[in-house]
Structures are given as structure tokens and as C-alpha cells.
Amino acid sequence: MDLTFSPQEEAFRQEVRTFIADARTKLPKTVGAPEAATRTKDDYLAWHKLLYKKGWVAPLWPKQYGGTGWNVTQRYIFNEEVAMADMPTTLPFGLNMVAPVIFTFGNDEQKAKYLPRILSGEDWWCQGYSEPGAGSDLASLRTKAVREGDNYIVNGQKTWTTLAQYADMIFCLVRTDSNVKQQEGITFLLIDMKTPGITVKPIIVLDGAHEVNEVFFDNVKVPVANRVGEENKGWTYAKFLLVNERSGIAGVARSKKATQKLKEIAHAETIDGTPLVDDEDFARKIAELEIDLAALEYTELRTLAQESQGHAAGPESSILKIRGTEIQQRITELTLEAVGYYAYPNDRRLGANEFVGPDYALGEAGHYFNMRKASIYGGSNEIQRNIIAKAVLGL
């Protein structure tokens, strides 16, 4: 057991830092902006494309498909450096969600067709899982696919589809058999968003952002060739994907960066002439947060180490989702508290490049409200607790 980094690992960290510093000069200014809400599709893709050119866009993929071949420590160092530099995360829907399903369960044609386009950023993917009637109870989904010759005809509706307004492709869970146990009648389809019959409708969330959408399917023709694996076996692939989604969800590096920003704000804000960060009550809250984050970090490292020894992430990964999102939410709560009365201005309704109060307060209240989603998405935290109760504790 050893917690120190080897000279090779420190050298790797330097290499990552140099790359990020150089990348920053090549990117539009908005990419490195602290306020994520101002990032556009092009911003995300600009960063994605630089990583692609460097060969670093897919740390989670096997080398044969274009992955980095990094070990757990390298991935950890890379994530930390990217977060600390406030670079955007690459979107997970293609790289971390559908791609592992394709290279694990897809056929050779599918691998050849989709993986290079995910890697290059040519295809933007979104996730067609939740439906209005199927949230926590995902297996009750009703979007229907009926086989007609070499096609499936898809009808139904997906919802909470993140950034579907930009997507080229959607991976969908659809019902292909209604006469069996719910989980046994689901199929995993890859659908081109330009297919006639697909409509995307925006949903505006609490902070005024257009982040999620409803996606409607009206007699959408999908070639059978776009089915991953076997018909009615989609739930197996879906679960595999959800476990992957959970392990990435802890967000430790991003939370460290956000904690650093919180402390900067608490240094700048004063309470009776003293920096807020020195206020006994507030200092205690920040300390508790940092301790919780350290415990989460080492829980994640233990999980990653196990994975590196060939043990796939198990139901324990739900711990990372629960604690990761609780900590993310706590950071936004304390940040909102730190900015005092400057939580009030509604930044989204000010003009471009305008703000009220200190610039560090910009967007923080909105961020607090927006982050309430974290304990709902990716399987709500109640569902994660059910998973641990059943699968880990055997209750």
C-alpha cells in the first residue's frame, strides 16, 4: 500500500499540465471560463477535438479502439489536472456510456462505424432512457419498437434527455416484447436523430437553462442493423451502462476545484470586517466538507484500484453516486451562503457580459438550484440506497 506518486507519474502530471496550458491558447476564451453555463456546443467540441488529436480523448477505452491505455493512477492524475484547470468535461454520453456498450456487446460493423466517430467528436450522442412514466422504475418504459422486415418502427417518448438539441445520435431503450417480465422485453437501439419522425422539445430547468429535452418518436424507422446485441436483451446492456455511469459520477476532482473556489469566495467576503473564511461557524462547515471529500476520494481510489486488478465495478459504486452528489450539492449550498445578498440577482436575465455584485457571485445561486438534479439523475439517491440494501447488504 502506497499513497505517493512515482517519478514517472509526476512526469506524466507535468506532461498533462503542459498540454492543458498549450490547449488553452488554442481554444476560444469561453471554454476555460469558470461559468459552465456560457459554454456552447462548439466549446465542448473544441476541447474534445484537441484531446482527440493528442490521443487522450478516451481514457476509459481499451487501446485497440483508440483508448489511452492509461492505468488507474494516470486517469486519476489526468482528471484532477483537467478539473483544476477548469477545462470542460468531455460529454459522457458517447465516450463513457454508449461506447463501452458498443465495444463490449456490439458487432464488428457497429464498432467500425460508431467508435471512430465518437472518438473524433463527429457524432454527438444523447441518452434515451427515462420516460415520463419511467424514471426510477426504468424497466417500466413503454417506447415501443415493432419489427417490420429489416426495420424497427419506434413510437413513444423519452424525457430529461440532456443536450439532445445538439445530438446526432441517440441510444435508446425500447420495448420489443410486452408479454414477458418487464426486464426481458427491452432492446437497445442506436438511432440517428435526423430520422423522420423525431421531434425534440426543450425543457427549461430551475436556473433557466435549456439543458434537457423531451424527445418524441412518431413511426421512426430504425434499421435492425442498429440494434446492439440481441433483441429483448437490452436490460443487460442498460445495467452495464448504468454501473459505468455511476462510477464516473463521484466527481471528486471537480468538487476539489469547486471547494477551492468556495474558499476563495470566503476569503473575499467579510463578516464584521473579518474574512468569512475565518468565521468560526463557516470555517467549521468548510472543514467538514473537505473531510467528507477526502473520505470520498479514498473510497473512489479503492474502487479504481480494485477495477485495475480486474474486478469490475459492483453495486458498491452506488456509494460513489450518493456521496459524490451529496458533496457536490453541499458545495453549492455553502457557496450560495457565502455570497450573501448577491445570491439574489438573476444573472440569466441580465444582458450579456453584465453582472451585479462581485464577479465571483455570478451564477452561483443558479448553480445551487441546478445541482438539485444530481440526487435525482443517474438513478435517484433513493434508488442507489435500494441497490446497496439489496445487492450489498442482502436485505
Binding site: 425543457i203 467576503e269 440577482p345 436575465r349 455584485g357
Partner: protein, 376 residues
């Protein structure tokens, strides 16, 4: 011991709640809060006609002779409908400062105007660097002839875009955070040297950042004692805390009811989600928070006439309880609604936002915990 409302108070509640049910539906609210003005002026007019603006003001100055409990009744109903009209700055704070500190001439002129709905006031007390300390003032009013010259900046002045006059706290003597040397002034928003920057707030109100540059004030602009205005300000802010605690209680009630109702109709795993014990217990905790909020708001309201220390402790106790209850109920209402609770389209998120900012207003939970503890 008697916690029952008088017949007048019950009539008042019924009249407010009926007006809001008929004219202040969520869909209407969405429209006018997003208009350029941010409110529909017809409502303020109607409030005056219904006697709401007069209810808590003294009879001899055009009011109906009520008090804190009338404010509580009105604000609870306002909270339930997410009312944006500036009742607190105009009636509770403006009316309160004048009633407790104004000269007879000021009371006659201004309390009458407030009761009749002829004026809207905003309370400019917070400053960019002062956080929640009411005495931490960099704004100054220097004596000049018989009057004063006002200079400084005020932050997040709620309702200011709609106001015709401002009530401004300023330092007339002393420095820094001295408790003495503070005075209160009534300032015409159109006066030379007043500049405002108006903006919408995240909880659908409107506010302004304000700058005062050599604003000349007549001696008659002073409300209450010169150099010793802080006790008056504290008294009136405690009254305002009782009022916004009632508003929060109204918001909490809506969220508890909406969540319980939703959990009975939303089905997952073949049953309404309200059948899951983990959610049942959480909704019970939300309901407990609601009941505690009602109680502590009543306590703070009924102690408004007590000694300064008793009153202040009760107000801070209410502010702390309401802050905690608002956060828990708001967050859990969104959580139990799931994705739909995150949308701008549903009312739940808007109540959550209002509750969140009520915790900030007049000092957050930590601030009032400290104040309570310091009062012994």
C-alpha cells in the same frame, strides 16, 4: 391562553385568499413576473381597496388598527401565492418605522398614503460590504445647514424598481460598525444624485443596486432620532422577520401539500411512490417542519411587543427555524417530485427559490443563531 384568530382576522384571511385564488393563479403569476415591469399594478390597487394595506396600521392615521397578527395572516396567504408586491418594504418596514419613529406630520402624510396604496417604498439598508450587520454602514449623511447630504451605495434593494420613495439607513456620526451614529431617512427616488440599476431576482422579485451622490435631504427627511436610529431599525426588522417567517410558512404549506398529493398519484414499480416508507417518513418530517414553522412564527409575532431582548431572541429563533425548515422542505419537495420538480414549468421550484432567499433576507441562519446566542 388563546391561539384563535379574531373574527376580523379570519375575515381578512378569507378575503386575501379569495382574491389571490381568483386573480393570482400560477399561470398569471408567470406572465406578469416576466413582463418588463415584473408585476401587475392592478394587484396593489386591489390590495388597497380590500383594506389589506391598511389592516396593520393605526386607526388614527388611516389604518384599521391591526398589528403583527394581521401582518402574519396577510403574509401567510401571500406566501402561498408567491406574491411579489412590496408589502414588507412598504407596509411592514416603511409603515413600522414611521409608526414607531415618525413625527406626527410624517405619520399623517405617509401612513395615510401607505394605507391608500398611493405610495410604494423600498428599504435600502444592505451594503456591498456589510453583509448582515445592520450597523456596518459606509453610507453617510452629513449635516448641511438644517438638512443632510447623503453619499454611498446600497445593495440588493428589494422592490426598489417599483418604489417612489426609499428608506435609507446611513451613518450620521461615528465610524465602522458603531451601534451609535446611525439615522434613517426618507428619500425621494427622483431626487438629484440618486442612481439605480434595476434587475430581476432569482425568486422573481425586482431589486436595484443604488448609488447616492451628494443627495440633499431636508431636515424633515429624518425618521426617528438622529444618531440613534439603530434600536428603531432593529425593532422594525424583527417585525419584518416575523412577516417573512409567515410568508415562508405559506410557501412551506404549499410544498408539503403538493408533494404529498404528487406522491399519491405518481406510480413507479406499480404503486404510488407515497407507499414507500422512506418517502413517507420524509414527508412526515416535512410536515413536522411546517407545524414547527407555524408555531415559531406565532411566537415571534406575539412577542413583538415584548422587551427589546425578548423580541429580538424570538425573531432570531423564528429566522433560524424558518431557514432550516425552508431548506429541508424545498430540497425534499424537488427530490420527491423528481425530474418534474426541476422544471421551470412546475410551481414547486419557484417556492423553493423564494424559501432559499428568505433565508438570506435580514440575515441567514448562522447570523441569527449567533444573535440568539449572544442575547443569552
Amino acid at each position: 391562553m388563546d391561539f384563535s384568530y379574531t373574527e376580523e382576522q379570519t375575515l381578512l384571511r378569507n378575503s386575501v385568499s379569495k382574491y389571490l385564488a381568483d386573480n393570482y393563479k400560477f399561470e398569471q403569476w408567470r406572465k406578469f413576473t416576466r413582463s418588463d415591469l415584473g408585476r401587475d399594478p392592478a394587484h396593489w390597487k386591489a390590495f388597497a381597496e380590500l383594506g389589506l394595506l391598511a389592516a396593520a396600521l393605526p386607526e388614527e392615521y388611516g389604518g384599521l388598527g391591526g398589528g403583527g397578527v394581521d401582518n402574519l395572516v396577510i403574509m401567510e396567504e401571500f406566501g402561498r401565492a408567491l406574491v411579489v408586491e412590496p408589502y414588507v418594504p412598504t407596509v411592514v418596514i416603511g409603515g413600522g418605522l414611521l409608526r414607531h419613529g415618525g413625527s406626527d406630520a410624517q405619520k399623517t402624510e405617509w401612513l395615510g398614503k401607505i394605507a391608500a396604496g398611493e405610495t410604494i417604498l423600498a428599504f435600502a439598508f444592505a451594503e456591498p460590504k456589510g453583509r448582515y450587520n445592520l450597523a456596518d454602514l459606509a453610507t453617510t449623511a452629513k449635516k448641511q445647514g438644517s438638512g443632510y447630504v447623503l453619499n454611498g451605495q446600497k445593495a440588493v434593494v428589494l422592490g426598489a424598481p417599483w418604489a417612489d420613495h426609499l428608506i435609507v439607513t446611513a451613518r450620521t456620526a461615528g465610524t465602522g460598525r458603531d451601534r451609535s451614529g446611525i439615522s434613517v431617512f426618507l428619500v425621494d427616488k427622483k431626487a438629484k444624485g440618486v442612481t439605480t440599476r434595476d434587475y430581476p431576482t432569482i425568486d422573481s422579485l425586482r431589486a436595484s443596486e443604488m448609488t447616492f451622490e451628494n443627495v440633499e435631504l431636508a431636515a424633515s427627511a429624518l425618521i426617528g432620532p438622529a444618531d440613534n436610529g439603530l434600536p428603531l431599525i432593529e425593532k422594525v426588522i424583527d417585525e419584518a422577520i416575523a412577516a417573512i417567517s409567515a410568508e415562508a410558512t405559506g410557501c412551506i404549506k404549499v410544498l408539503v401539500d403538493a408533494t404529498v398529493e404528487y406522491s399519491k398519484t405518481r406510480k413507479q414499480f406499480g404503486v404510488p411512490i407515497g407507499k414507500f416508507q422512506v418517502l413517507q417518513h420524509r414527508m412526515v418530517d416535512m410536515f413536522v417542519q411546517y407545524e414547527q414553522s407555524v408555531s415559531i412564527t406565532l411566537m415571534a409575532t406575539l412577542k413583538l411587543g415584548d422587551s427589546d431582548a425578548e423580541r429580538a431572541k424570538a425573531a432570531s429563533a423564528a429566522k433560524v427555524s424558518i431557514g432550516k425548515a425552508g431548506r429541508f422542505v424545498g430540497q425534499q419537495a424537488v427530490q420527491i417530485h423528481g425530474g418534474i420538480g426541476m422544471t421551470d414549468e412546475l410551481n414547486v421550484g419557484h417556492y423553493f427559490k423564494r424559501l432559499t432567499l428568505i433565508d438570506t433576507l435580514f440575515g441567514n441562519t448562522d447570523h441569527h443563531l449567533k444573535r440568539f446566542a449572544a442575547l443569552g
